[in-house]
């Protein structure tokens, strides 16, 4: 080992950076979760109090519920649209494919802050673009950012807009890896287009679908910037847009309960882990 020290030194930056910015914060947040700390003064040991408070806090459970609702509102249409777009992009009749791929991927690299401001203008209660459209066709105005479901729809639509293209590109890669011979064999056996879609495309894509479901689960559980910019640190009217991470942020950085914020972080870790396992089982289970 010693003779290769130069090489170890060469790869050391990753491990050093990981230890400083990855390992240490993880360990410290676990330590912090059992303490009371306002961020500046002294830390005092708090036992399990932070976790007890979290489990009995109505706002925490509301945040969990909101996060799941927004996840459902956004992930289902997002993956559905992504699959359709990928299928179309893969079709032989489409021209300028690269242009479309870039176009669909573009929302993903747009600043979320800018996106949230634009969506805020679309969904605004007064003088919002959607309400302007509704009014001009004689429909009643919807108070998007006051209704609990309206806030969730607004946040979800932002997620859908941003991530559909990303998932489509991933599905496209999956589609391209399916051997063309399978389709040809199916065609010879007299299978219709729909049959080969459900019997060949979907089963062959299953690992890719599983990947997108799990990444969008993690992404959905970590939703933060969209609601924060759109409805503010308190999650908007009735805290309907309060997600788990927004709650964590508010409790730590606005209300200065850093120990409690760390506890919420670990609670969220458990939820994501459980939820990913459930998803994995569900998507895997379909095959048998």
């Amino acid at each position: 080992m010693w003779e290769h020290r130069a090489l170890y030194v060469a790869i050391s930056p990753f491990y050093i950076l990981f230890a400083v910015f990855g390992l240490f914060p993880i360990g410290f947040s676990l330590y912090l979760a059992f303490h009371k700390w306002d961020g500046i003064g002294v830390m005092t040991y708090n036992g399990l109090n932070n976790f007890k408070y979290m489990l009995t806090d109505a706002e925490f459970w509301q945040a969990v519920g909101n996060t799941f609702m927004i996840w459902i509102y956004s992930t289902i249409p997002m993956l559905f649209f992504a699959l359709i777009i990928a299928f179309l992009l893969h079709a032989p009749f489409v021209k300028f494919r690269t242009l479309f791929r870039v176009g669909y991927f573009l929302p993903n690299v747009t600043s979320i802050v800018a996106v949230a401001i634009i969506f805020g203008a679309l969904f605004a209660n007064n003088y919002g673009f959607l309400n302007y459209l509704l009014q001009s066709v004689g429909l009643p105005v919807v108070e998007w950012l006051n209704a609990p479901w309206g806030i969730k729809v607004a946040i979800s639509s932002m997620v859908v807009w941003r991530w559909t293209g990303y998932n489509a590109v991933i599905y496209l890669a999956g589609l391209q890896s399916i051997p063309q011979t399978l389709y040809e064999a199916a065609k010879i056996d007299g299978a219709s287009g729909i049959q080969s879609f459900f019997r060949i495309t979907i089963p062959m894509l299953r690992p890719v679908i599983l990947f997108t479901v799990i990444t969008s689960t993690i992404g959905g559980m970590q939703l933060f910037t969209e609601p924060q910019i759109l409805v503010g640190n308190d999650g908007g009217a009735g805290a309907a847009g309060m997600t788990i991470v927004l709650y964590l942020y508010r409790e730590s950085f606005i209300n200065n309960y850093f120990g409690y914020g760390a506890a919420v972080g670990w609670g969220m870790f458990l939820i994501i882990a459980l939820f990913s396992i459930v998803n994995w089982k569900l998507v895997q289970g379909k095959s048998s």
Binding site: A6, L7, V9, A10, K36, D38, G39, I40, G41, Y53, D57, A58, G120, A121, A124, N125, N126, Y127, E143, N146, A147, P148, D234, A237, G238, A239, F253, I254, N255, N256, Y257, Y260
Partner: protein, 424 residues
């Protein structure tokens, strides 16, 4: 093999040299070379101190190397993380009206009384001065600007609704929250519900509360209780404004608020002096139609900032000299002219700059109204938990205003949430 290894080491060495030379890790090398200049850093946010005044301070104190850094983004979060890290702290720092959150960490700041602040105490508004003093009597914040409140109203809409429209007359007739609410009903009736008395429920609650002498806590830190007459009364007024349909539900700092103001859908609001500029920028089309008068229910304060010296500073004496000069009554007046920062030194209230007539307010000189208000702000103790309690209450009021939550159910729930909050 050996040669390859050597190339490898050389490459690593080269990278290291480049990294080190790129970011100078030996600061302060030129400290010894210059002729004993004292270096001071100052953190402030955009428009909290006039940049030209800072430039003047550099001339005024030739022995001080003043490095003023405009901190963007979330100023409070950046300050707190710096305090937590205990390194890279500035010597002088501007604090906003959340200064009380830092009272438990008073040992991180110099007691300005020890540096001679007591000598100039009588030049500043007493209530403002006390906001920078902790319950233990340590002064951690030197007064900068203040935010005395007054009633902003649309003279044309008031007139059309058959209400008084001259500032003195409005102040005389609409002198309490009931009279203000009655005026709102007149406006609602006259304009068929198209014009609202005021912007949102938070404004009403916040302003009535700020007119009283007690908040949620006593100076010894004990909780006064949610049955405090002022809290309950402010809550009831805010709820009644909602029930009578006097609120436009337009939250501040949103495009909706700007549009509602510009389109004449909001006839009035009780706001701090700095709202003058916010309003002028939001509603240019209504120029000349607004007036300002003393607020119904009394005077209050909203906002205003402070300057502090951190304990890590090596030159507290020089830092205090700079602070005292920057916020001297004359320089506060200067910053009123340049940045609209309202002075906390009443000595300059009688100067021509304050009495200037403003076209946006129909040629009214609004300065004297705010000056009068500033001198009558009741002294009140906030306490470090004021923001979290206040936030819970205004959040729940918003549920009533925007989601038609039943106030009878929301109140006990709010009391419960506040009690839980205080147990942590």
């Amino acid at each position: 093999m050996i040669r390859r290894k050597r190339t490898c080491w050389t490459a690593i060495l080269l990278v290291c040299v480049m990294l080190v030379s790129g970011c100078s890790i030996w600061p302060g090398q030129n400290d010894s070379s210059s002729n004993k200049k004292v270096t001071l850093t100052l953190w402030y946010w955009n428009r909290s101190i006039d940049d030209k005044l800072i430039a003047k301070a550099k001339e005024k104190f030739p022995n001080i190397e003043l490095t003023a850094q405009k901190i963007g983004g979330d100023f409070k979060a950046k300050l707190k993380t710096t305090l937590a890290a205990r390194s890279g702290e500035p010597d002088i720092v501007a604090l906003n009206d959340w200064i009380m959150e830092l009272f438990p960490s008073e040992d991180r700041f110099y007691n300005l009384y020890d540096l001679g602040a007591g000598d100039v105490e009588d030049q500043y508004l007493a209530w403002k001065w006390k906001q920078g003093v902790t319950p233990d009597g340590q002064m951690i914040g030197f007064p900068m600007d203040t935010g005395p409140t007054a009633l902003f109203y649309r003279a044309d809409l008031f007139k059309e609704a058959g209400l008084p429209s001259e500032p003195e007359e409005v102040a005389r007739q609409i002198n309490n929250w009931n009279a203000y609410s009655a005026a709102g009903e007149k406006i609602k009736e006259k304009f068929g519900g198209k014009v609202f008395l005021t912007d949102n429920i938070g404004t009403v609650y916040n302003q009535e509360l700020s007119q009283g002498t007690e908040r949620y806590f006593r100076p010894d830190g004990s909780f006064i209780g949610m049955d405090s007459p002022l809290v309950k009364q402010s809550w009831d007024t805010a709820v009644s404004f909602k029930q009578k349909g006097l609120l436009a539900n337009a939250d501040g700092w949103t495009p909706g608020w700007n549009a509602a103001m510009n389109n004449g859908e909001i006839a009035s609001f009780v706001g701090a002096v700095w709202m003058k500029q916010v309003l002028q920028e939001a509603a240019p089309d209504t120029s000349g139609k607004w007036r300002v008068t003393r607020a119904p229910g009394g005077d209050g304060n909203n906002g205003g900032s402070f300057l502090s010296i951190l304990k890590s500073s090596k030159h507290p004496k020089e830092a205090f000299e700079v602070i005292q000069w920057l916020q001297s009554p004359d320089n506060q007046l200067e910053q009123y002219k340049t940045l609209n920062l309202f002075p906390s030194a009443p000595g300059v209230f009688d100067t021509p700059a304050i009495k200037e007539e403003e076209p946006f307010f129909g040629g009214q000189a609004t300065g004297p109204v705010f000056a009068e208000s500033a001198q009558h702000v009741p002294e009140a103790f906030f306490g470090e938990r004021y923001p979290s309690v206040h936030n819970i209450i205004t959040r729940r009021l918003n549920d009533i205003a925007k989601q038609n939550a039943n106030p009878e159910q929301v109140w006990p729930d709010t009391v419960h949430r506040v009690e839980r909050e205080l147990q942590r």
